[in-house]
Symmetry: D2
Subunit: 393 residues, 4 copies
């Protein structure tokens, strides 16, 4: 990233407001850092807690200029300022995304929203329509699509290097919920509460990442799924394990193996895709490598920044070969790409290039979660997901 | 292996006859080399082809003393010689195992038999009864159980280091059948013919390895399965992909992802097991390593020959730390362990220690294959497998 | 990093000015991003080119408020402003570091300076004295010391987990200069010009990183060295390969193998240290892992964020276990640690905790470079380095 | 290895006699197993101990037909038998190799000899002349040259895929002598006694492997070396660490880092070679992989058995892709290749193809050891090694 397209176009950086992700949260500093890291945003406004007093205090503590007491105030006030925010990032609990996103869109503010987009499908669809009418940009923070080698994988599939896709496997095997925490026992961890985070929590929280990653890389959406979700940890009410099988229209098969209760595991997001000509493997824990093996050839160990990568991979990396990039840089790439489209929109450039996961991806993700719930209710029966192909971006 | 228990006990090496695995076959040289490598067997008799003339010629070409024209002749003749074979190794097509094993047992010859034990469950059960009555030793060549780190994994589960088992995943992802070969097109590859190798070929050929590996390591047999087998390669009649979900009595879940049609893949046998306290991971392609991660501790990268392994792992390795051992050594460990039990039996030692996969494991494997066929016929419906726990060995 | 110690102490973020690292440079965006990422600095002033017009234009293009024409102007002007910079980051060519750092220190500005500190030892020593008298903080950007697992390695050595140190090996094997570039042919790449970057370029550019990394991790400085530097690429005047042997007072041995001309290589910074009780291995390309193997125990694969790490490792990571961090985060840790000490100094807190490489490390690095030049002139003769132990930080 | 060239040519397997490597030794079972594994040898005679009674008992215990009391007896007696040995394998202490090899050659017996060939250079040269005059085959057991991917590396260099060789690094970092053992304290471990195993033990024992591996892969012998050997473990008299720098006629540089005192290390043999076009990396602990990275291309992860390997690599593997092979198989490849040449010689075929390390390699290895001793005596001064190019094989 030696150039700064946003400042070139606008003569200034974009102004970002954040809601959620206060002190102590993991995702708050990730979002803000991702926005700041490449010098295309400044973070000027925030609501960092549902407690108004704490929200204002936290803003001061982090050195964010305008700390508001309520989200509604922030959106209202920023929308009327000359130097108000261009973009809002939403990282509040899942059941609040819909309302906040609607408010922002209504006030002309571009939106970055955490996954899952909503808990309910009809809200997701309604949001999609609203976003499209608004002419504003909307990104769902499926952050793994920001990794250079994930983009390389997508480009390789698109270019036909794997042939016709036959098999997809995505594992997401975390261990941080292998035991009940005090917060969970007391119902204070909203991620583990079905009323806030959705009925099948493991699917809604990280299963949806698998779904997006597979769709993103293969350009294919499955036709049917069969899910087997359950709860492994005694005393827990939320699901913490799911195994989901997928069938695609062309006969391809997919498989997800997803949990947060695998004692000792770290992150464990692992993707492999095989086609009629070859296959790729990617481990999020070693994100800068992609193994490509094809019929009749030596295996290639593709790495970020080396010769032979597609432009879409190269544009997602900002450090030379051999200098590892991680989760935060992947996230930052989403912010870069969003900034590019937003500044185009501000400059009235038609059809900006969209390199980030758009709202349609979020809608599909919600539909997938609902289908998994339905299959589980039927003891793993095969359920149709009403596939439609992702928007090309 | 600095000692030679067989020669110590018998004053001579064991005499082995082999049927199947002629020149050009992969598995023939594996079995014979595994027997020879540790100086506990000599290979003295063979039938190396169903064509009598070729069989005799092949024996001469390999320098095996007694090459027979027919299996029946060999068993008959060896059984009456003073210096006849102690052990027969069967590596003929699957549908012939039953008859050959019966003949051998009837003549007092100990048996090593390739997997699957038989194509039909009733044959497997009948063989089990016959073997038990005979007092002879019977090993099913589930060779992956011979790797030191697989034995370490089993010992760790047994010792409770993983806590209660919750999740098991076994992948077996090969690529050598990603395209139709000339032999397959002409029906000359018996591995791809349902009439010889079984109705659901991918399950019978390598799915059964996953089943055994998981049972062997965890000591648990699943209660139910749901299978989704299909054919990926156009023009093929046999199945070449299966995804099988498993449910265990204690609520644990298992998942197999098995294919030989993953273009570009090599061997891809990969096991992981998580319990309430920790988990292990093992890749057959790097067989001398086992990753163990548990709650509250740094991860351990256990390697063959290092301090801290269980005796059962150490007894399965013959080379010092850092000197890699491979597939042939794993296979040889099965032969070593079998030799130990056979020589005990010859010396009338009661209750020899059994460290190899006994006939019961083969029977279970056949039942698993049948259950997968049944589930597939019901579009992946959950099928009960009538589990019974493995013999302790 | 859920807290923000700087804003807590000062009620604002630190103000940073940068010199060097204009558009197109790699290191410029690294430094600025590292400062911004954790919300403890704002970048308010800069000189981005030795061409005054370009410098101002580049500042505008990046959205940095105050772009100056000359470094002297910037330091002069910022020192007199109410809201002038607290810290300057120097990433200009090596031979200019001394003068700029002197100017900044004289005006009361804390300094972060790229390595090597200077080309000449007497300048380095003079700067050290000046910095100490000033009471200001001075950091040399030995960025690899910012990686969590490097800090873990240091803490383990310090705690005696490796026993007495016996052997140290550090490789730094890059490939980006395996061929002459157009810029190099025309003398336009200052990194390859001895008059600017120092007589033994490979030692000055990256050999010095090896020296620092080994000293940092082991707490030991070598007594003697023997160097064999040479030029591998035809047509090049600068050295591009060196092999340096080290002897320590306690009999330990060190070895560096350093090049930028290894065709095909990426970054290749690799450290291992063995003591009487065990050893560690670290690869910069997989920075979040540290292998620890000791006598009588299973190997440990230590990873960022897992249980069992020292506090110094944990404080250098800002993302949960399994979310990879890379080069930019390592760099950002230096900026964090520096911000902590600078804000302490501003608040007149005596003896702030120093977690970053201080000026003494830079001085040692220059002495090391000189000793390597001397040894090379003597065909690899052993040269004494006049070791003194690093400041404890 | 689906064919058996020896039996085809001779109508029988080769007859092997072994001296040294009795029960309890590591290398004895390695040699005998390597000979047996591929069905080209039978082991018919042996002297397994310098104690005549133990030698005979050990032969019985292992089931080897003819156990002799003395080496001279064995050679004498076997040379006169109709069915006497064709080949002798020598794995006695280093200082006895010369005499035994002379005896065997004089009686017309082909020789496989452990490294180092001798302790003294004049003995090595004398043996070379004797071997050449005899018309017999002579192999020095540099076993690492039997690994398929080492052969691949050699073929790639030979084919020019790396361009002109510039840099070679070979590490051999073992840990099993990181502490004094009881046997060593009492002078009972001959490997640690300079009077038996040579003056600079670490160089003679495993440094010589590095030397051979580098020569074998690159086809180049160094012109000069500088060595720094020392003793790390308190109380030990033998050297246990060496760092050796090499200079080649074309300006290339080599570096060895060799020890058996690296606490916690396993085997640690690691080779990398860079040329003007690309480089390769190979780890003995993962022997079936070879990383090849070259200018302008994605990296290739070459694996045993995959498409794209040279014939010399493929002929050194006997198991399909993905089935790992280890140290014993590498050793067995040497035995295979030797059997091929010996049976050619027996059949009076002129100029048999030589794929194993011939006696010239052993002689060079002894010269290398002497040069290292000389350099150490001169505090690491550069010493000329009188290079001559290896015989092409």
């Amino acid at each position: 990233m030696s150039t700064n397209p946003v400042v070139k176009k606008l003569g200034r950086r974009l102004r970002l407001g954040v809601v959620g992700g206060g002190p102590g949260s993991f995702i708050g500093s990730i979002h803000r850092g991702a926005a700041l890291m490449n010098e295309q945003y400044e973070v000027v406004a925030c609501v960092l807690s549902s407690d108004p007093g704490r929200s204002v205090a936290a803003a001061a503590e982090l050195g964010i200029p305008r700390g508001y007491r309520h989200i509604e105030d922030m959106i209202e006030s920023e929308a009327t300022r000359e130097d108000g925010i261009d973009v809002i990032s939403i990282m509040t609990p899942n059941d609040s995304h819909y309302k906040i996103a609607c408010l922002a869109l209504d006030k002309g503010i571009h939106v970055i929203c955490e996954k899952p987009l909503t808990n309910l499908y009809h809200q997701a669809k309604s949001l999609e329509i609203r976003a499209k009418k608004s002419g504003l940009q909307f990104c769902v923070a499926y952050a793994y699509s920001g990794y250079p080698m994930v983009r390389q994988a997508r480009a390789m599939v698109e270019a036909g290097e794997l042939g016709e896709i036959r098999m997809i496997q995505c594992n997401y095997v975390q261990g941080h919920l292998a035991e009940m925490s005090e917060a969970e026992l007391q119902g204070k961890n909203w991620h583990m509460r079905a009323d806030i985070a959705g009925e099948d929590l493991i699917v809604a929280d990280i299963g949806t990442h698998c779904y997006h990653l597979c769709s993103y890389v293969t350009g294919m959406l499955p036709e049917q799924l069969s899910a087997d979700s359950c709860t492994m940890v005694p005393g827990r009410s939320a699901t913490d394990f799911t195994s989901i099988q997928l069938r695609y229209a062309n006969g391809a098969r997919g498989s997800f193996w997803v949990t947060q209760a695998a004692a000792g595991a770290e992150h464990g997001l692992y993707l492999r895709v095989f086609g009629s000509k070859g296959g790729i493997e990617w481990h999020q824990e070693h994100p800068n490598e992609l193994l490509f093996r094809s019929l009749g050839h030596p295996a290639q160990l593709l790495t970020k920044g080396r010769p032979g990568l597609y432009e879409s991979a190269n544009r997602a990396t900002g450090v030379p070969v051999g200098h590892p990039e991680g989760y935060r840089e992947g996230f930052a790439t989403l912010y870069n790409d969003f900034a590019d489209a937003v500044s185009d929109t501000i400059k009235n450039i038609r059809n900006p290039l969209i390199h980030f996961p758009p709202i349609e991806d979020g809608v599909q993700g919600v539909r997938f979660i609902e289908a998994a719930i339905e299959s589980n209710r039927g003891n793993g029966m095969w359920v149709y997901i009403e596939p439609k192909f992702t928007n090309c971006y």
